[in-house]
């Protein structure tokens, strides 16, 4: 019964969404106030209905209701509790419902926290957002109904894909969706502003928190996914340039570009049409990502829906929203005249360079991802575009970005003087290069990867420090230190996020450039040396897990006769799903990870053991964490709250147009 109620609530929500798409738009056009404000309660109702529907589906997973097809296909009574919850979104239909839930949540948030927006703009934002939600609800209801019942329920389910039964991956999709869908808010704001024909500093300020939130969620989502790949797939790779990973990286880059260009709109009222275009394309790439994942058009590890009908449906959503928005953009963009005048050497220009680098690198990834498809369709060539291409094509953009960042971050608005801005930075640049050179001289091998990564990372981190220090103005050091604490949160956000980028750049270089590997057959009781450690395989045991059996090796790592750690790598087999997985054993330390996986038993009685030393691996996740924290600091900046409070006293809204 609850399942039917959930299904019904979703259909009801669809009807509300359709009404919410039309009524406020008409209201805003005609200037009918009550038609506009009705969008607010509608957004709330829509969210509550979808939330109920989602809760109903979750309930059926929790009680293992095997009359529901989705539960049979993705669950099992023995599955641990947490994966019964995450199992809801570990499949196409359920994850689509989560996607709809988040769309509705963002729409409702715009109703709850958007009191400071002009009524017509808010009505239009809610209408556009609801239009997107309605499209995805239709997609769910008509092609991917999660509530389908079975006439003859089986006794038990077929279990969730064991690779997905992992804490890292359990919470990777919701964050990613929060990010993808968060960009729909930027899109809705952009389209609403285009209909309104007005983009000003206030618009920049309103759209920025949504973009920041989306970017923070995407950062967390990508980082958890990458971390999962690192420890789960068994050889410690963290990025594979898989189409699905690219699908998340492209919107991330666009969101990063957008949140920088929105600053220019907010502070200087220029780059308006470009910012609008970025907002549209950012969400476009989110939809493209969804399309790539769901259609299975570009096969990859993640494609759980290999269904052309679904692909066509998403393509229609994509074409409809992008086509509509871009047409609107072409008609309205000329109206958006820029106000601010600025010199070629200025913060504005630096942010334009930032945008060029981020947007172009994103497009390059796009071309590389789609090229196999294009080549097959147009040139009849079946080929692959893999990591070597992406590394070569993408890295230069990031190197350039890291080189320009500290300078651009310190250039003044409007008109700058390069030599004055560089004065405090020369020393830091020289120091960074010197440290890079020192690393090059000390390391074994000739690869320039780590020295360059170190120099760039250091340059970005030190540059960010110089920036935040410069913000304290002049005067005695004591006063300036005191002033540090009073800097706006946005300054700290900028510092933290940029530092995070620097740390990540260094970590990627160190991890790729300095990792070392050892593959060998080890007898039980035998010891071997790796990276200064003496590793002893003490035993290999069979262990019974809740829904798997495991072959677990136990290795002791000694250094200078002292026991450092005991590692237990596993090979698991999930009998219900019929799938093996590897569980690497990792000893996390600040300067390196000791990473061990267990292989097959050998004919002569030993076991294959692979040992890796992964230098500075933790720094990568820490860098991503810093970037996300930077976004959160920025989001908590006073000016977003003040603006919200001040506007509430406004007696009436600005009339439409």
């Amino acid at each position: 019964m609850i399942i039917e109620l959930g299904h019904f609530a979703l259909i009801l929500a669809f009807a509300v969404a359709l009404a919410q798409t039309v009524i406020p738009l008409v209201g805003a056009h005609k200037g009918w106030r009550d038609w506009m404000v009705v969008a607010n309660p509608m957004a709330t109702v829509q969210f509550l209905l979808v939330a109920f529907s989602y809760a109903a589906l979750t309930y059926s997973f929790l009680v293992s209701d095997f009359s529901v097809k989705l539960v049979v296909d993705n669950s099992h009574t023995l599955k641990p509790f947490i994966y019964k919850i995450s199992g809801v979104w570990g499949n196409h239909e359920g994850s689509l419902l989560l996607w709809v839930l988040i769309l509705a949540l963002f729409g409702a948030s715009a109703a709850w926290f958007g009191g400071n927006l002009p009524a017509s703009l808010q009505a239009r934002v809610l209408a556009v957002q609801s239009g997107i939600t309605a499209a995805f609800m239709a997609f769910t209801i008509f092609t991917s109904n999660p509530f389908t019942r079975l006439a003859f329920p089986p006794f038990d389910g077929t279990d969730l894909n064991p690779l997905l039964q992992d804490p890292g991956l359990a919470f990777h999709p919701p964050f990613l969706y929060l990010g993808y869908v968060g960009l729909s808010m930027a899109f809705s704001f952009a389209v609403a502003a285009l209909i309104e024909g007005r983009v000003d500093a206030a618009w920049g300020r309103w759209v920025r928190p949504w973009t920041l939130a989306a970017w923070v969620f995407l950062t967390i989502g990508i980082a958890t996914g990458s971390w999962w790949a690192y420890y789960e797939l068994g050889w410690g790779g963290f990025w594979f340039w898989d189409p699905v990973e690219n699908a998340s990286l492209m919107p991330w880059l666009f969101a990063a570009a957008l949140l920088h260009s929105a600053i220019v709109v907010e502070k200087r009222e220029t780059l308006k049409s470009w910012t609008i275009l970025l907002a549209i394309l950012g969400f476009g790439f989110s939809l493209m990502g969804t399309f790539i994942v769901r259609s299975g058009l570009l096969t990859s590890v993640h494609a759980f829906a290999m269904d052309p009908e679904r692909g066509v449906f998403i393509l229609m959503i994509l074409a409809g929203f992008m086509g509509g928005a871009l047409t609107l953009f072409a008609i309205r963009a000329p109206v958006l005249e820029a106000k601010g005048v600025f010199a070629t050497v200025s913060r504005e220009s630096a942010l334009v360079v930032n945008n060029v680098l981020l947007a172009v690198s994103s497009f390059v990834i796009f071309i590389g991802t789609m090229w196999p498809l294009v080549a097959e369709m147009l040139f009849d060539r079946v080929l692959s575009v893999g990591p070597p291409f992406f590394n070569m094509a993408f890295t230069p953009f990031m190197v350039a970005l890291a080189m320009v960042l500290p300078i651009g971050a310190m250039l003044p608005w409007k008109r700058g003087n390069l030599s004055r801005t560089m004065r405090p930075l020369w020393g830091l640049a020289a120091f960074s290069v010197a440290m890079g050179a020192l690393t090059w001289a000390l390391q074994t091998g000739n690869s320039p990867l780590v020295p360059v990564g170190l120099a760039l990372g250091l340059w970005v981190v030190l540059g960010s420090m110089a920036d935040v220090w410069a913000r304290t103005g002049r005067g005695a050091i004591g006063n300036r230190v005191k002033r540090l604490g009073r800097l706006p949160r946005a300054d700290w956000g900028k510092f933290t996020a940029h530092t995070g980028l620097g740390v990540s750049v260094f970590a990627v270089a160190a991890l790729v450039g300095w990792e070392s590997e050892d593959i060998r057959v080890v007898q039980i009781g035998e010891s071997f040396e790796k990276g200064g450690y003496t590793l002893t395989l003490t035993s290999v045991d069979r262990v019974q897990g809740p829904n798997y059996v495991s072959t677990m090796g136990t290795l002791e790592a000694h250094r200078d006769g002292r026991l450092i750690t005991t590692l237990q790598p596993e090979k698991r087999f999930y009998p219900i799903a019929g799938m093996p997985t590897t569980e690497a054993a990792i000893d996390y330390k600040i300067h390196r990870d000791l990473y061990i996986t267990l292989g097959d038993p050998q004919d002569n009685g030993g076991w294959a053991v692979r040992t890796y030393i992964k230098p500075f691996a933790n720094w990568l996740w820490f860098g991503c964490f810093l970037m996300a924290m930077g976004g959160i600091f920025s989001l908590s900046d006073r000016r977003y709250r003040i603006a919200a409070g001040a506007e509430r006293t406004r007696p009436d809204a600005v009339p439409a147009e």
């Binding site: 050889w235 898989d242 106000k339 945008n355 172009v360 390059v364 080929l383 893999g386 291409f389 294959a608």
Partner: protein, 152 residues
């Protein structure tokens, strides 16, 4: 396409084994490191976006052994590559070639970058030479709102 289908079938039947197994490793470390370099650039046919160096599939193991066999025979890296491509097709190359239409792919990054940096440059010059907007930059309507706010 049929070959891919067969490959997928092989994947379904293949028992799980391991990326580079101890018994595959060549005694000569120089040859072995060349083999690793080559395998990192070759795609496993039955996997999704994995190189044969990372893949656990049986077919990837066969390909790794083949690479090593050719190296031991004295082939150069390029000879090994072209031998594998001849057998399995262009699809195995993770780094696409630069011949024919692929040139579009390879020049895309620099060309796109040049175009966008040029148009950005033109835009910046226009902004620099643009006339300063009227003092205050407020429309009559905004002036009225400002007055209302100040009167509050």
């Amino acid at each position: 396409m049929f070959r891919l289908f067969l490959a997928a079938l092989a994947l379904a039947l293949a028992s799980p084994s391991w990326a580079v197994q101890p018994d595959e490793i060549l005694d000569d470390p120089v040859l072995e490191s060349r083999a690793r370099d080559i395998s990192a650039g070759l795609r496993c046919l039955v996997c999704r976006n994995e190189s044969i160096d990372e893949s656990n599939a049986e077919l990837a193991r066969d390909m790794r052994l083949l690479v090593r066999e050719r190296l031991v025979e004295g082939d150069s890296n390029t000879e090994v590559m072209s031998f594998i491509v001849e057998r399995y097709g262009e699809y195995v190359l993770l780094r696409p070639t630069t011949d024919g239409a692929n040139i579009i792919l390879w020049v895309a990054a620099p060309v796109l970058f040049l175009i966008s940096i040029l148009s950005a440059g033109l835009y910046l010059r226009r902004r620099e030479n643009a006339p300063e907007p009227s003092k205050g930059g407020l429309s009559a309507e905004e002036e009225k709102r400002l007055k209302e706010l100040l009167d509050d």
